[in-house]
């Protein structure tokens, strides 16, 4: 029997970036807020001995414990779905800060094209550029409407960058801090791309170039380029993360509380509103009901969708009929690239998660697609994140993968190999979606989320085209041998690709084609807000966090308004 607790103004589920932004903004506005987090609390002092590749990068110390909960996966509807038993393709976060603790810190604003992708693609290329199997739609919000909220996040996180990219949306303000240091590796990329007629610029970074104090008074330190960023927490407090910014801001207000080991299992709905959430204290095993005026789902893409599904809020998407919106437009990211083997040794083991240079010449609709068999593209970058020895064993394709030759080659190449990577856009397809699994359950007795996903022709064509662009850049950089990444065939859950999963709880201008409105307010329950990359109707050609955060800031403004006047915000 669940114990019902005292009602609060707002309860949030999950304390990563979106939950953190929500609790900070709502508590600052005077609302009484509780943040529920299934993991534990943590802070910079917990990262002092974090330079440990084996524990953090290989054994996934900061990630979700799959023995409690995972997803099931299949490539198409006719295939039996099986559980993702081990982490691989993407890394689900856990604990205070969520993925915002172990991220690299690439902080982008999606392009103006992304938000109006359907309208702009149809205008330029006609309505049949992609077949009707691709569920392309506008987002219900424009870049210009989001501009102030992008900036708000950049201020909160102190983002380091330079406004020299001719292809991105207009910025009303410069970056809060200057770009990171331009290393010899980055200069190789800069020289080559400039020579090829492209426009390189420093990647916008949440590893700060200098010490900074944000608008809420939270200090962020200067990055030391130690080379342990993605999959690690920052021992310097120099990588902007929820636990050093928005969470302390919320705590300072005096009317916010974080509650850990609290695993939410249901959003309770009554009529056209929700009344609160039911959660399990994972230490004591006790069940609680936390009533609230407003419920904010701010966990990861997978869990937000799952909570709506198990709580029976909204209509499940069915690819056979095209009806329903929940689970629809699940997208991923397409990652073309090339590896270059050089003669000279470079300091590849030094770096920072967002230390990089980028070109946007092949992103969005920045290049003409009239004669191409795909739309969109991706940002092409070189990053110097710090190569680590267990997982970095670069060998050429014809080298054996073990034995004497492997040893020689992998050691020789460790400091002589560079890679160019792309964050390639991923377009929604009617057969790619999320739903509940019928066979497998989590540790709390709930069905696992089921993912039905495969790469599409659009993805394969984009990948092939951009791979050849990256090969050209790598050659120009002076690599002795260049290897483009092997073509993609079917989506495979085994090897790490990216933790940029999107969709399933998409936003839009109508309840017919979306789960939430452009304030991320649920169409079927006006006091329920669902926040995260799950809101993206498609995935763009950048890392998602900057856009996720901008949507969250705009939604927070909506919730404050809602808490005064009620009703639909659109």
């Amino acid at each position: 029997m669940a114990t019902t607790l005292a009602k609060v103004d707002v309860v949030t589920v999950g304390l990563g970036w979106t939950g953190g932004i929500m609790v900070a903004e709502l508590a600052k506005a005077g609302l009484k807020v509780i943040g529920l987090e299934r993991g534990q609390g943590r802070s910079t002092e917990d990262y002092l001995r974090v330079h440990d590749e084996y524990r953090y990068a290989v054994r996934y110390e900061l990630m979700q414990n799959l023995s409690k909960e995972t997803i099931t996966i299949r490539n198409h509807r006719k295939m039996p779905a099986l559980p993702m038993r081990q982490l691989g393709s993407f890394l689900l976060g856990n604990g205070l800060g969520g993925s915002g603790t172990h991220w690299n810190g690439h902080t982008w604003r999606f392009l103006p094209y992304d938000f109006q992708i359907k309208t702009m693609t149809d205008q330029k290329y006609g309505p049949n550029k992609l077949s009707s199997d691709y569920l392309l739609q506008d987002w219900g919000v424009t870049y210009d409407e989001l501009e102030p909220y992008f900036y708000k996040f950049e201020q909160t996180a102190g983002i380091s960058g330079e406004d020299t990219n001719p292809f991105w949306g207009k910025r009303a303000h410069p970056f809060p801090t200057p770009p990171m240091k331009k290393t010899p590796i980055l200069k190789k990329f800069e020289g080559a791309t400039t020579k090829l007629g492209y426009t390189p610029f420093m990647l916008p970074s949440a590893n700060l170039s200098e010490a900074y104090t944000n608008q809420d008074g939270e200090p962020i330190n200067a990055c030391q380029y130690c080379g342990f960023c993605e999959r690690f927490g920052c021992e310097y407090g120099a990588k902007s993360s929820p636990e050093i910014t928005v969470i302390p801001t919320a705590v300072k207000t005096g009317h916010y509380e974080s509650r850990f080991n609290a695993n939410v299992v249901e959003v309770i709905k009554s009529g056209n509103k929700v009344t609160g959430v039911r959660y399990l204290d994972t230490l004591s095993g006790e069940e609680f009901i936390q009533p609230a005026e407003v419920v904010v789902l701010a966990s990861y893409v997978m869990n937000n969708a799952k909570l709506l599904m198990v709580s029976k809020i909204g209509q499940q998407y069915d690819p056979a009929t095209g009806k329903g919106t929940l689970g629809k437009n699940y997208c991923y990211q397409i990652l073309p690239g090339a590896v270059g083997f050089f003669d000279e040794q470079m300091n590849t083991f030094m770096g920072a998660g967002s230390l990089g240079m980028t070109i946007d010449d092949f992103n969005g609709d920045n290049f003409d697609h009239s004669d191409l068999d795909f739309i969109h593209g991706g940002s092409i970058s070189i990053t110097q994140t710090g190569s680590r020895p267990i997982e970095t064993n670069p060998i050429q394709r014809d080298t054996p993968t073990w034995g004497a030759e492997f040893k020689k080659a992998s050691i020789y190449n460790f400091t002589r190999t560079l890679a160019i990577g792309t964050q390639g856009a991923s377009m929604p397809h009617k057969e790619n979606f999320l739903s509940l699994d019928g066979n497998y359950k989590d540790a709390y007795g709930l069905p696992l989320l089921q993912m039905t996903y495969n790469f599409t022709d659009q993805d394969r064509n984009l990948y092939k085209y951009i791979t050849s662009v990256t090969e050209g850049i790598m050659k120009e950089m002076g690599a002795k041998t260049v290897e483009g990444k092997a073509p993609i065939t079917d989506y495979d859950i085994v090897g790490y690709q990216t933790t940029h999963n999107t969709g399933g709880t998409i936003m839009g201008s109508s309840p017919d084609n979306s789960v939430v409105n452009n304030y991320l307010q649920h169409w079927d329950a006006e006091n329920l807000f669902v926040i995260g990359a799950g809101n993206f109707p498609h995935n763009g050609g950048y890392n998602p966090t900057g856009t996720v955060a901008a949507l969250a800031y705009r939604s927070a403004e909506g919730i404050i308004k809602y808490s005064k006047s009620g009703g639909s915000l659109v």
């Binding site: 590749e53 023995s67 990055c223 030391q224 073990w402 034995g403 085994v494």
Partner: protein, 245 residues
């Protein structure tokens, strides 16, 4: 000083003791050479009563007998052999790293979804075995030994390097029947664990004396590269472990 200690291989030992005769090589000999078996694995402490290199086995957390441990050791050494660049898997204590890992949450897959029903999935769906890594290793090592006996009428550890490679390649190519798991999967696990043992922080009991990092030019745990990150010159930096902090 440990770097100067002589490595005695099994063949050397058999030669010097004059027992390298076909008749004596078999289970009985292996069983009777417990001290020898461990000293090839981790050659330290040359001062022994009979003049041969003897080593004090630091103990097993997972393995129970020397034969299995020896098979593991030799297999990892073929994956990452000692050469002019530096130590191989055995000298780096990779087998002890794997032993310790198999005894803990790695070996029992405690952070992974291990609930049924189990089914053979498509390769794109990843690991679907009901077996833990500890069970996969145990069976895989037994199969290596079995395959050696089948092909060469010798234990795996008595084979020539090329023969060991032949068997490992058969595992890699998924040509060996295993129960509940494929031999290709076991081989990948073995290969990955070898690299993990060679290049993880020495606190995990592999990467002895940071020998793996030294070969690779990886400086381990360094507080900051702030002052050298812009340098055009390659930086040779003496590695530090977390224990050196």
């Amino acid at each position: 000083m440990s770097e100067e200690k002589k490595v005695i291989t099994r063949r050397d030992f058999l030669k010097t003791t004059g027992i390298a005769t076909g008749a004596l090589i078999g289970g009985g000999v292996i069983g009777g050479l417990v001290g020898y078996n461990t000293k090839t694995v981790n050659p330290v402490n040359p001062s022994t009563s009979n003049g041969h290199v003897m080593e004090k086995n630091p103990g097993f957390q997972f393995f129970k007998n020397n034969r299995d441990f020896q098979v593991l050791s030799n297999a990892t050494e073929r994956i990452l052999p000692k050469d002019d660049l530096g130590p191989g898997a055995i000298e780096l204590d990779v087998p002890y790293f794997i032993d310790h890992q198999l005894a803990g949450q790695y070996g029992s897959n405690t952070r992974e979804y291990m609930h049924g029903p189990f089914a053979v999935g498509a390769p794109t769906q990843g690991y679907q075995s009901r077996l833990t890594r500890a069970e996969v290793f145990k069976q895989g090592i037994e199969k290596l030994e079995e395959e050696a006996n089948k092909r060469f009428q010798k234990g795996f550890s008595d084979l020539e390097p090329a023969q060991m490679d032949e068997i490992l390649t058969a595992f890699q190519k998924d040509e060996i029947a295993m129960v509940g798991v494929t031999s290709a999967f076991f081989f990948r696990l073995l290969r990955t664990a070898t690299l993990e043992g060679a290049y993880s922080d020495p606190m995990y009991s592999g990467n002895k004396n940071m020998g793996g990092w030294k070969m690779k030019g990886f400086p381990g745990h360094q507080m900051a590269y702030m002052n050298v990150i812009e340098s055009e010159k390659f930086q040779k930096i003496e590695p530090m472990s977390l224990g050196d902090m």
